[in-house]
């Protein structure tokens, strides 16, 4: 099956920042992404789990598949939002089906 090179960007970010991140992505014309729930985690600011939270706290994972040439504008837009906030960003090489969708 015919596949095409792409990048998979995974951004783990605080839930109250989710809407700001997706708006920044849209602003950078990244209109394809998927948001997954996160149960808990650990990082420099310590361990947490959704059970120990009240209200709209916690984190989410935002996954974007994107053409390689558009990666930089995506990372710039994302960095703007995550900069002062806790969270991590990773990028992986991947192949996608149906490249016309990206």
């Amino acid at each position: 099956m015919q596949t095409h090179k792409a990048k998979r960007v995974e951004i783990i970010i605080e839930a109250p920042m989710e809407r700001r991140l997706t708006q920044a992505l849209m602003g950078a014309e990244v209109t394809g992404f998927t948001v997954l729930p996160v149960l808990g985690g650990s990082g420099r600011s310590g361990q947490w789990s959704r059970e120990g939270q009240v209200g709209r706290s916690g984190m989410v994972s935002v996954v974007c598949l994107i053409r390689p040439e558009r990666l930089d504008s995506l990372l710039d837009a994302a960095f703007e939002v995550v900069d002062r906030h806790i969270g991590v960003v990773s990028v992986t090489d991947c192949e996608v089906l149906r490249a016309e969708r990206f």
Partner: protein, 325 residues
């Protein structure tokens, strides 16, 4: 004094407080007992809807009191002022950075609706009436304190990041909208509306509150377990002294407004309580450098249990003494 102790003792052995204690114990003992997030959120929707609705019905029943508008204004003013009191106390009692201190201060200007609900439960069980619109005052006090916190940071040259989006998020926060909305529904449908849904919002209320407080105890306990060492003795002292200070400001406001003894006590409770839902979320966006463990633990792990157990009986005794009620 004896009256307070008796009331406190009475309060302490209610199913509500014991449920909180059970949750606290389970979390500190690292039991895996947990209330699913969706269930806890559903319970809080129920509580907000019920308390707002009952407030609205009560206003519909007794007519709008002349002091309604003044009480709302007083609530907004208290919410603006209390963070400055808290900030000053924190600078004296602790070594928190300006940002952390401002973030904590913002929480103490805002309110905890569950503390408010627990206070109304005590009033109900003692047969003491209160102004139904105090629910609206609670809603009005949620947000202004956030502004004060940001101003405190900006004044010290710290960054602040307050876009119009954040404003909308704060003012149209789910709990404010639900509280005010349910209040309006109660006001509009009045006695007739109440009759239709009383067996939903009134009969099971105390029991639902037990389960909700079980979960609050679990969350508070998990927080306390993690922060051994994060909080200094001074910070703990703040968590107990600030609600007392806040309650006195609330007492003053309540007396000036000429509220009923129950109303004065609720105004004290609102001033004494600290937010742990609306303000933390706003702080994550506006002051991301502030450490959430500090403000969450103080608000939820120290002040909330203090108010629930000792604070509420104290405020009631003071309110009764001061109003002669």
């Amino acid at each position: 004094m004896e009256g307070i102790l008796a009331l406190a003792a009475d309060n302490l052995i209610s199913p509500i407080i014991l449920s909180f204690a059970l949750g606290l114990f389970a979390a500190l003992a690292r039991s895996d007992l947990s209330v699913p997030e969706a269930a806890a959120k559903a319970l809080s929707i129920y509580l907000l809807f019920a308390i707002g609705f009952k407030g609205g019905v009560s206003v519909a029943r007794h007519g709008v009191d002349g002091t309604l508008l003044l009480s709302l204004l007083a609530g907004v003013a208290l919410s603006f002022i209390l963070p400055f009191v808290a900030f000053a106390m924190l600078r004296v009692l602790t070594r928190l950075s300006v940002t952390d201190a401002a973030a904590v201060a913002g929480h103490y200007g805002s309110i905890s609706i569950v503390t408010f609900v627990a206070a109304t439960s005590v009033l109900t069980s003692q047969g003491i009436a209160s102004e139904g619109y105090m629910v609206a005052v609670a809603a009005a006090m949620e947000a202004p304190a956030i502004l004060s916190a940001l101003w405190l940071v900006a004044r010290s040259g710290g960054s602040r990041d307050m876009d119009s989006d954040l404003w909308r998020e704060i003012l149209l926060n789910g709990s404010i909208v639900l509280l005010i909305g349910a209040f309006a529904i109660g006001l509009i449908t009045g006695e007739e509306g109440f009759a239709r849904i009383a067996s939903f919002i009134d009969a099971p209320f105390q029991g639902v509150l037990c389960i909700f407080l079980l979960d609050m105890g679990l969350v508070a306990g998990r927080g306390l377990r993690k922060v051994r060492g994060v909080l200094s003795v001074g910070a703990f002292a703040f968590g107990v002294l600030m609600p007392l200070a806040g309650s006195l400001l609330g007492l003053g406001a309540g007396l000036l407004l000429g509220l009923s003894p129950g109303g004065v006590m609720l105004m004290m409770t609102l001033s004494a309580s600290a937010s742990y839902i609306a303000v933390p979320a706003a702080m994550r966006v506006a002051l991301p450098e502030a450490n959430p463990s500090i403000y969450l633990t103080l608000s939820l792990g120290v002040t909330f249990p203090f108010n629930l157990t000792l604070g509420i009986p104290i405020y009631l005794a003071l309110a009764q003494a001061a109003t002669g009620g």
